[in-house]
Symmetry: C2
Amino acid sequence: MSDVIDIAPSVAGVRIDLPQPYLLFLGDADDTTYLKTGQGLIDWAPGLCVAEYKCAGAAASLGLPVMRPREAYAAGARALVLAAASIGGAIRPGWIACLIEALEAGLDIVSGAHDRLADDPRLKRVAEAEGRRLIDVRSPPPGLPIATGRRRSGKRLLTVGTDCALGKKYTALALTGTFRTRGLAADFRATGQTGIMIAGSGIPIDAVVSDFVAGAAELLSPDADPAHWDVIEGQGSLFHPSYAGVSLGLLHGSQPDVLVLCHAHGRERIVGLTGYPLPSIGRAIEVTLDQARLTNPRVRCAGVSLNTAGLRAEEAEAAMAALSSEWGMPVADPMRPGAAFDRLVDACLA
Amino acid sequence: MSDVIDIAPSVAGVRIDLPQPYLLFLGDADDTTYLKTGQGLIDWAPGLCVAEYKCAGAAASLGLPVMRPREAYAAGARALVLAAASIGGAIRPGWIACLIEALEAGLDIVSGAHDRLADDPRLKRVAEAEGRRLIDVRSPPPGLPIATGRRRSGKRLLTVGTDCALGKKYTALALTGTFRTRGLAADFRATGQTGIMIAGSGIPIDAVVSDFVAGAAELLSPDADPAHWDVIEGQGSLFHPSYAGVSLGLLHGSQPDVLVLCHAHGRERIVGLTGYPLPSIGRAIEVTLDQARLTNPRVRCAGVSLNTAGLRAEEAEAAMAALSSEWGMPVADPMRPGAAFDRLVDACLA
């Protein structure tokens, strides 16, 4: 991997670090359905998105200025990000000429696709000749350690879930932003591909060899000032039969002081599997706290982040209020700022 | 990896499969302290150990006939096993000439060392020229799936632990042997390097990328005859802050019907870490069963396998009896056959 990722080991440990800001490459997408990565960047890191660029004839747009790589470089961009590849997707042959143009314009390339950039011989040759980096954010950095279980200074919050894909990343990002708005020192710690692109650094925790998952989580949120908050992006769910081990390693290595449980309104079963009902909110909190106490006996749950996408505002308010009353804790949708979310933030910081 | 391991995907899935029987290579070891892998093979698979072979001047012996590779091949051996490398260790430069002699004699090479065999250019060249395989049992096979959580036919037993390194492999091997002695169809399912060498197949679960651990465990014990037992080698411990995620993924993918909890007499703290006491037997069973129910609601714990190494026979008997009385379940040391172990086996099969 040393030929692909320029890792600078430091006291803080080994993480992926990305050149910024970005030119977003939309590939040959005809609509924004395939631009989840790009949309996440625009939502959460608009200041990092200089422009968009796409193949001739592609219809999709993220609403950014359209620039070719050389223009984008002149405007400050330092990396082209594959914003079209669905996470886990392929690098299409028709994109290669555009990617080479970016390398020649002075941009590194950042990809969350399953295919590795350096596996394309043309990209590899041009990148070497131009002194550019091909950065696959799905590839964990080398040299990850085994977890030690040693307690670290600083405060940590981890978002956990009743299932996958219901808002753990967005919740962590929204909390980080609000902590900062309130004048606190806080960092978002990314554990997945899109999160790493937004943060500019992180470790793709589900791609780490299992022996090193907790150790990677320890590296991701190192010792810090006692008043500093690391807000860590959760992965998977302890109640998901495919991924619970990933979630547990991340939980143990993160040693969170505070958990926020993420849930999607109306979801009753693990998505994509047969026969796996979601736990109740109470059971999810109880089990997660019990496991978390292994590495931080003082962990507590501040409340629930409820994904109410698709509900009207008054329906969402009612759903949050009902759940809050049922379980006796703050419940808020971070995509709907307001009093409920303020109460959740207050509880995190209490 | 395709140039190193000859994987034959089948209905049963993708596992490492080893050529057998073995010539055990003792390297330049001067005493048996460094021969843990070799000793494990002799203890549990004596029929697979044709002979031993070592560097000129090495003093250690496992008590097997001494043969050079060509003699061993004539005596039936089909692979040379690195029995000297401590698991995770290096392949020493002084061994290469011996390993090349083995390849030229018709033997494949099997290694559990951290160094990859094919990373040595001389070994790689000779292996290719001779049509031999270089098999690193630390390298998981490619193409592992994400777990589905689908229930499988057949019976499954998993050994779990209060800590690492206290007898989960030996317990699984002893139970498999006894099940067979009683006329039952049973297979030992190996999840670690030494276990894989003993069984001749398996998946090194702690080397699997975390997203695929539960899926690898599902592959390892596929659908089987309803009366058939898979006895699965546990890894790590749910109470170990470095490795609990590995243990949970293995637990969920294994979907065990029966657990046997392994514990070491007198051990009170997680070995190698500071500040992590072991759970009580009762708590260990309660937590493990609770987690196991996610993928098999009917899981039960049959009893405790107690490592009493270092105790005199009567002390061991007393320790087992005391624990059995305290927790109301069979407690036995599988290395001490007798009535207590028979009761544990009865409870597994009940």
